[in-house]
Symmetry: C2
Subunit: 712 residues, 2 copies
């Protein structure tokens, strides 16, 4: 640089310096500074909370290892996921199989389950596609095949996913929840020792079959077993769909693509029609029902034992609800710490953070509390399930412990059904509520919650439609209530029914308003109200029976009451799980978790105020106190809400939203992502079209003028 | 045909005949028959109800003409809309401009508005893109330009959309609802008689600007007016963005594409940065604030008069809420009439229709009632708006009627804000609830409600974020309450505040449970509860003032109470609109509409039971009666619910969902659409990828065996 140039530069620089000084305004906090100050408010050790949530330091480390492995795997790149087409995403999803197949055989099941939970957070489409083979197809083999059959399919490659890949053909175009009503038939042909699998009508077409469109070589198909003209109900059969080398369809198989969906486009759902497809008799999965060479049908002694398989998926969805709820709150919460809007007072240097508005606290803090509640509920539900599986594996028909096992099965079945419905519904609403707290930016695909919503929504209708599951749960409650009335002790989940006489007549245990701020009182409040709501459903049911209805009709008649009972029961159940977890928390975490738990309890009461007033547990003035306390606890939790979110410990890669980044630098990262995915410049995509519109020859539209001479 | 062939055919036919007879099962109803029988239940004239809803036969005919014109316009083809990419849909949206531009100049405004309402039902992306030019850009000219300026831009082609097309640059990356806080500057340069438009920071980047990415040649930009170093607040300026022939960007303009969104991909939202862009002084829209050649700034006497423009969009969204709610209910309702699931009794020939389950009635019938309620509310809100516009146009500053006009403005502003928020939130929830009633099929893109959800969701955050609007509405209620306390008579919308003394002390007017089934009692119930909830907000506000807070801080402090007040107020307001409409209905429709209106009223009370019990308008036992009556009215409305849906009179083309077709032939049409969009056969999209996965060389993974000799 010439000395002349250097001088000019120095002049310009000093000039700029002066200009800056002259214009200097009072210092405003950058987004990053706005975030940093939130972290300084923590009164607890964030890392310790993470360990507590994860079940110990060891598991935190494992999860962090998974996150790093995923982030560095090019097939799992996420930055462009919001722009890929359905066809691209499906192909990319397939590419990911190879990595994960490696781990499925190398890792113990609980660890691999954690890996899949981590993946479900960023790529639910992959999670589903992989889960269709391992959870549904392979799970059906494990649950319904004899050990010889199981070995056969493992030797064909079902476990290693080498040589074959499976799907699960249950649902039909015209039949979903009512599995007994499926139309597909499996007719035994004694002469050839074969079953003939057949789709008799259009409504019998297998529908929504994940992996059928392009992936699966085999399927487990649910069909009506027909032997010698007699119908034995729905059983499962393995049918080959495609040549495992060329992928051409097998004779009699017709398959199509279901096409575009609301979300989870990574999974290739398809439809399947079978036209007199012949399979060997031994392709029927015969662990439970057996058909002999001679066509004799032997039915299982305890059909209920086969329900266990259904529960696994529901438990996974309860866990997923907690995980996704935490993700949604992370995005909305971090954005609220840096986004500023309006000045609270004209003297403020800077606009106010969203999170400092009472209403924003009221929108977000209860969702944060709920995410914690669902997290702990997921942990407990998983334990419930593991306990059931232990019992099922160790109990043989005829054992003395069989009744206990069946009771546990019944309870776990009902509890997981109710929680699956309640947690997926609540989480779907929470995602949307979080999305809306992002204001306009929530509508951008890149901010993540729109896609999260679309991917998550399917949880509400698959593997048991939520309404039907809720009704089942309500039916269980009614039956427990009737048992309790008859003096039979009820299990922990519905233990409030063991004190019906006391509970139904119990006034509020709080002498002063402040007494309400007590886990035992809140628990009692839920107990009293749930007992009353369940009683209402039970009494309605009883009244219908007395009026001469069949039990089925009576249950139908009280379905709205059952729905209410199941919902209220879930609130109380989840609060108990949360309160229990707080009690077991390390000393240093108990204060903050207690606040979060109070917020969950009080907010839930406020949302269901009608029942608490209806059954006179709380007076109107106590309810006013509850409402006021919700605000108080929103404000309390707000103080440390960023540390509470940080404890979820999701990396930026996992969050995949520029508005939810750890450092708070939201605007630059958002703008960068938009520009990266939509580079500026380049050709106009439809210039001639727009030019011809903007330069219309108006004369075209003008009518021919009357030729007045003609009129003469 | 040879006689031999004819004989063979006859033989085959008779053989088939016999086979059919032999297999004959008890006759089951086809989907079409299942639908037909619903239509036979109508006790009223469906066509008459359509006329009533549309405001007369004449308007029904006009709507039917629009639907036919759209259906026959190839650029408006809908069958493949669920599969097109973002780029395709944007181009196709542009193609549609030519048709609609033709009508915008040929049709009177009210008729053209009806046309656009019809279009918004099937193509909200187009509606938005077109609305950006005519509603926002052209609307801003009409509202804020002097008449000379207005003529100038019309002569440039702004009205005919010939030679230019506009967009509306208000929102910034870091600034949404707080328009006063926008950062973009418009600095007057006296020397050149120009404004310099400038984007000083990244957060000042104009963001979400519809039509900016590829369409607009001009924009109205909102910027801080700076004259001689003084800031005058946000004003609007016309800036050219692109050469109107070549579409190259003008100097100083930087534009990019916002990219993928949750929905409405037909509109090309973009971001804009201005870097010292110079425009003539006369490009500032000077109807209200004026800047002279000498740099004198003249501010308008009544800034409130400029709010009128905001209201139009909100009214349109209230109307859209009703229309979309009707569409969602049409799809879910028709499907529920033909979908069958489970047998109610083992003797049933056929599974039970979804709609015959009490719980399904409880899920759908209140949403049908709400769609009616929102329809009538839309009609009334439009009238309110038209009345306001008449007043605004006929009042000049200084007129004796000015105060009345300002009161009307204030009322309409608050009412439309509250209703926009309430109706769009409720409708979004209703769409999702309807989607879920389709079970698994709701997750298919082709069944329509997933897309409807994604398109509609933006209503909750744009043109006034719902939470902020609700708080504004709550603030209005608090101020009305305080005025009423001070003795000032309040307008019709909040007329319950004129009887505060009576209402706040009023016991329930119903002597018997049956007395509750009375429009006046329900209206009174809402009046009492709303008065109490508004009083609570007002008292909280007052208490904060007394505690020494500023009014702003006091409003902030009572924001949760304001939110509750605004919501409860909306329920009551909408019920009144509905009840009023029923009273004005033709004799033959009054019975059925009365039932629908009761259902809406009772269901709304049930949903807000907490407040009715809190303020002791209803006793717990009355509330039990209300709950029971909701079921009764669900059953009543269910009787004629298909005729009630038919009265909405949307053609199959408009519904664009195979599950919502008029004739009920849902399965065939659904399957046909899936196959049409995803033809069977063809090449596998990624055969080598899947082959290499399924035929892995397992040896690759095997470790080298230890060479034992080395160890010796």
């Amino acid at each position: 640089m010439s000395s002349d140039a250097a001088q000019r530069l120095a002049f310009v620089q000093s000039h700029l310096q002066v200009a800056t000084c002259a214009n200097e305004e009072p210092k405003k906090k950058t987004p990053v500074e706005s975030m940093t100050e939130e972290r300084e408010k923590a009164t607890f050790d964030v890392r310790e909370l993470t360990y507590f949530l994860d079940g110990g330091e060891k598991f935190t480390k494992i999860r962090e290892k998974f996150m790093m492995e995923l982030e560095r795997d090019p097939t799992f790149r996420m930055y462009d996921m919001y722009d890929v087409t359905k066809d691209q995403i499906r192909e990319r999803t397939m590419e990911k199989f190879r990595t994960i197949v490696h781990y499925v055989s190398a890792e113990p099941v609980p660890i691999f389950t954690m890996r899949m939970q981590t993946i479900s957070l960023i790529d639910p489409g992959f999670w589903t596609r992989f889960g269709v083979h391992y959870g549904l197809f392979f799970g059906a083999l494990r649950g319904s095949a004899t050990s010889a059959q199981f070995s056969h399919w493992v030797s064909k490659g079902a476990l290693a996913l080498n040589g074959m890949v499976g799907c699960f053909a249950m649902t039909e175009l015209g039949h979903g929840s009512n599995v007994a009503g499926l139309e597909t038939t499996a007719t035994f042909d004694e002469a050839s020792d074969q079953f003939i699998i057949h789709t008799p009508t259009i409504t019998a077409t297998k529908w929504w079959i994940g992996g059928a469109a392009h992936t699966a070589t085999h399927t487990v198909v649910f069909a009506q077993l027909m032997v010698r003209g007699k119908r034995y109900g729905t059983k499962s059969f393995v049918v080959q769909l495609r040549d495992t080398r060329t992928y051409t369809l097998m004779p009699g198989i017709n398959i199509g693509d279901i096409g575009k969906k609301m979300g989870r486009d990574g999974i290739d759902n398809g439809w399947i029609q079978f036209t007199n497809v012949r399979i060997p008799r031994t392709n029927m999965l015969m662990k439970h029902t057996k058909v002999s060479r001679a066509g004799e049908v032997k039915e299982p002694p305890m059909a209920q034992l086969t329900y266990g398989a259904l529960i696994q998926g529901r438990v996974a969805m309860v866990v997923d609800s907690g995980n996704i709820a935490k993700k949604a709150v992370t995005i909305a919460g971090r954005y609220a710490a840096v986004r500023r809007q309006f000045q609270s007072s004209p003297h403020d240097v800077q606009e106010t953070k969203l999170i400092d508005y009472a209403i924003h606290q009221y929108r977000l803090m209860p969702l944060l509390a709920q995410a914690y509640a669902f997290h702990f509920t997921g942990v407990e539900t998983q334990k419930l399930y593991d306990n059931l599986m232990d019992k099922l594996e160790s109990t043989q028909p005829g054992d003395a412990s069989m009744q206990d096992t069946l009771d546990t099965l019944k309870e776990t079945h009902a509890t997981s059904a109710g929680l699956k419905a309640f947690c997926t519904w609540s989480t779907l609403n929470a995602i949307e509520a979080c999305r809306q707290t992002l204001g306009g930016h929530g509508y951008s695909a890149y901010t993540g919650l729109a896609t999260t919503y679309n991917d998550f929504a399917v949880h509400c209708t698959w593997e048991g439609d939520n309404t039907i599951l809720t009704l089942q749960s309500g039916r269980y409650l009614v039956s427990c209530y009737r048992e309790a009335l008859a003096g039979k002790a009820q299990p922990e989940g519905v233990s409030y029914l063991n004190h019906l006489d006391t509970l139904l007549n119990l006034g509020c245990g709080a002498k002063t308003n402040e007494d309400i701020l007590n886990f035992d009182i809140i628990q009692e409040a839920w107990g009293v109200v749930t007992a009353n709501v369940v009683k209402k459903a039970g009494d309605d049911f009883e009244a219908s029976l007395k009026a001469g209805m069949s039990p089925e009709a009576a249950y139908e008649e009280c379905s709205q009451a059952r729905l209410a009972a199941a919902k209220i029961h879930s609130f109380g159940y989840i609060f108990r799980r949360f309160a229990q977890a707080v009690k077991s928390a390390p000393e240093g975490l108990r204060a903050i978790l207690t606040k979060v738990c109070f917020l969950y309890g009080l907010y839930s009461i406020e949302q269901n105020a009608g029942f608490f007033l209806q059954y006179r547990y709380f007076t109107p003035s106590q309810m006013d106190f509850v409402r006021a306390q919700v605000n108080v606890f929103c404000r309390e939790v707000r103080q440390e809400y960023i540390p509470l979110i940080d404890a979820f410990n999701y990396s930026d890669y996992m969050i995949n939203s520029p508005l939810g980044v750890y450092d708070g630098n939201v605007y630059e990262k958002y703008f960068d992502q938009v520009k990266r995915q939509n580079p500026v410049g380049g050709e106009h995509p439809y210039l001639p079209l727009i030019q011809s519109l903007l330069r219309r020859d108006i004369e075209d539209d003008e009518p021919l003028e009357d030729d007045e001479e003609d009129e003469e």
